[in-house]
Amino acid sequence: MEHWLVPPLKVAIEAGTPLLLASLGELYTERSGVLNLGIEGMMLMGALSGFIVALITGNPWLGLLSAMIVGGLMGALHAFVCISLHANQVISGLALSMLGVGLSGFIGKRFVGIPLKATFGVSPIPLLNKIPILGSILFEHNVIVYISYILAIILWLILHRTKMGIMIKAVGENPAAADAAGVDVYKVRYVCTIFGGVMAGAAGAYLSLAHIPMWVENMTAGRGWIAVAIVVFATWDPLRALLGSYLFGGVEALQYWLQPWGIDPSLLGTLPYIATILVLVIIGSSKRLRRAMSAPSALCKPYIREEKVV
């Protein structure tokens, strides 16, 4: 018999993975100075396209790939509007969210109620899953969960240990200075925004190909917004995003464990947002923390390159 801790923690990871994927992408986007509020819509479009392609080809990997492409394309659209056209990032992001919700609902109508055979099933990692307790919590999931572990670590390393990471952070903090230092601000922002879209698409595909293998309208149910909150909660750090995702995923999943004790689920549902606000308050209250952990200074500010006088 498994330890009593195993099922709830396992579920927390399962429910946290789409949040993790989406928030890792959003984190990079915001680090480069672009706010993307279109995550919800990108996740939905990813979920739908992943589902359709997996249904037609019978291959979940192709589904995942197409979800990433669709997410990336939407990210590219956001990038074009915000970076090249200097449009308001909030408005563009909200528009993309609404577009994604509406369009996926419209296109997806014909795909509702079709069972999907090609899914990412549970594939335990041999040996590792024999570790007592931790083994079954961490290593009895589908492949995307394992990929997300590795991605979180790699993305942390890139951000904090490589030149590329410094470039991204510089662009998000002070694009003019980065530009002067020879960094192509537009290129970095484009890449990060498209990457954010790709990750959101993958998060959507996780929902429709692994978590609940089917297409249902609006199946993300607000996860895109929680992902945006997680980025703030994690103070723009990939490993803290990992923690935040499992925490928020766990809060959501565990309400049914706690229900018999009379704990109100709608109250639990507000916890991620309350936690995020608390983090903001804590950061705001200390100068030292503010310097180390606050939002990228150039977030939401379009960068318009000054003309060089030759």
Binding site: P7, P8, V11, A15, S84, G105, G108, K109, V112, G113, P115, G121, V122, L207, H211, I212, P213, M214, V216, E217, N218, M219, A221, E252, A253, L254, Q255, Y256, W257, Q259, P260, G262, D264, P265, S266, R305, E307, K308, V310
Partner: protein
């Protein structure tokens, strides 16, 4: 190249794209180009035939009719057409008016649950009756309901169906405002002289599912994932629990609420929580096949958890785990309503007491994992091997018990009802005396749980 050169190119490209879009839009949206049409001279055989048909019709309608001739003796086609007008008017008076029915849905028609069920009903009656035309609006919020009703009336609809409890007051308001339109509201209790109500009720089927669940559970723990803690769902959980109790008096029914009609992810999480607690049969009220998928996954993992179809046939999502279920046939109700409106049985003055509360007897609901499959054949042997002692029927297999109860509840005057006393609630209070059948009001306002249920009914605001 200088930087400004790049910007010029960019904006030129943008302008060109915008121009192309504008041009395409103008071209496709513009009204049709004027064409010079040559009017053919009307003569010859077609005209003669038209004259003949008109003459025949005039005889049937009993109107005098002459075929107009030109001085040359040909048929005067123009005059012939003009003479047709009184014929057509008279004919359209005699032919019954068409019904144009509007359906206003609260959810998307693709939800595979509530709205999907209503829309399936709509499509069936739409195809069946040539005199019926239907239109619908999906994902309508309560606040928008009234405006949609007005819009449909402007479009010429004379029969309006609103299919959500929350549409009750807007529908009533519209019924008072538009006394010549006929309204039907699903799942509410307010009626008016031109507004009736209807509902397809499931509790008999939940009871039958409960019988099977009680026979199938090995752990003695049966689960139920509930949508909202309202009387309708409470009634269904109680009916289910009564079924479980009849076959397996020691088994308990564990309830989890998800506070949503449609939320696949919450449904999955609630089901997982129940399974972690040791539940091995789950019934649910949630409008997607998610829980069936969860159970099928557990079956594959070697830990079978059984479940039931809800609203739509979900057998294909879990052929190894779907035992039976409750399916809806809204078309039975819609058919009855539109025919009676068409024939004038229902009109704008006599709907105040028209309330459909249709169940097995009327065929509005069906027991089944799939249409036409009351019990998944895979489970027949197990259910036939499990015996119970019934005070009237004696020693009987669960399979036979289900079939007999199904027959009893489908009779013209149902000879069995699950809510027959003695029924005790969780506090041990006697809710139905031995032999007493709970009435419509008690079922409609139910806010207590039967004694073998573990869980609470959250009170609003608490």
């Amino acid at each position: 190249m200088t930087k400004s050169g790049g910007i010029i190119i960019k904006y030129t490209a943008l302008t060109v794209i915008l121009l192309i879009i504008t041009a395409v839009a103008t071209w496709t949206l513009a009204p049709g180009k004027e064409r010079i049409v040559k009017v053919p001279v009307l003569k010859g055989e077609p005209v003669a035939k038209l004259a003949e048909s008109a003459l025949a019709l005039s005889k049937r309608l009993g109107i005098e009719f002459d075929i107009p001739k030109t001085p040359e003796g040909d048929i005067n086609a123009t005059q012939l057409l003009l003479n047709l007008i009184p014929l057509i008017d008279k004919a359209s008076e005699i032919i019954p008016p068409k019904i144009k029915a509007a359906f206003i849905y609260v959810g998307p028609i693709g939800d595979y649950g509530w709205t999907h069920g209503h829309d399936t009903g709509r499509r069936i009656v739409d195809e069946k009756f040539p005199w019926l035309e239907t239109v619908y609006a999906e994902s309508v919020s309560e606040a928008d309901c009234y405006r949609y009703i007005e819009r449909f009336i402007k479009q010429g609809c004379n029969l309006i169906f609103t299919t959500s409890f929350g549409f009750m007051d807007p529908t009533l308001k519209a019924a008072k405002e538009y006394p010549n339109i006929i309204f039907f509201h699903c799942s509410g209790y307010k009626r008016w002289k031109n507004m009736g109500t209807y509902f397809a009720e499931f509790y008999q089927l939940y009871y039958l599912n409960g019988l099977m669940a009680g026979a199938l559970t090995k752990t003695g723990k049966v689960g139920y994932v509930g949508a909202h803690p309202i009387p309708e769902v409470v009634r269904h959980i109680n009916a289910f629990a009564l079924g479980v109790k009849e076959v397996n008096p020691d088994a308990k029914v564990y309830v989890r609420w998800i506070f949503a009609w449609y939320d696949p992810v919450k449904a999955k999480e609630a089901a997982e929580a129940l399974i972690a607690e040791g539940v091995d049969v789950i019934a649910f009220t949630e409008d997607s096949p998610t829980i069936v998928g969860v159970c099928q996954d557990y079956f594959k993992k070697g830990r079978p958890v059984y479940t039931f179809s809800h609203y739509s046939p979900m057998y294909k999502y879990g052929p190894d785990v779907v035992v039976s279920g409750q399916l809806v046939h809204w078309e039975k109700i819609y058919e009855d309503i539109v025919i009676k409106v068409y024939l004038g049985v229902y009109n704008k003055t006599n709907l105040e007491n028209v309330d459909y509360w249709w169940m097995l007897r009327e065929g509005a609901v069906e027991l089944g994992a799939e249409y036409g499959m009351p019990i998944n054949p895979k489970f027949e042997p197990i259910l036939k091997e499990k015996y119970v002692e019934d005070p009237i029927l004696g020693k009987i297999s669960v399979y036979d018990l289900v079939m007999i109860r199904l027959k009893q509840m489908s009779e013209e005057v149902p000879t069995f009802d699950p809510f027959t006393g003695p029924i005790y609630d969780q506090e041990g209070k006697l809710r139905a005396k031995p032999g007493e059948r709970l009435g419509h009001y008690a079922l409609w306002t139910m806010d207590w749980f039967v004694d073998n249920i573990v869980g609470t009914i959250p009170k609003p605001g608490g």
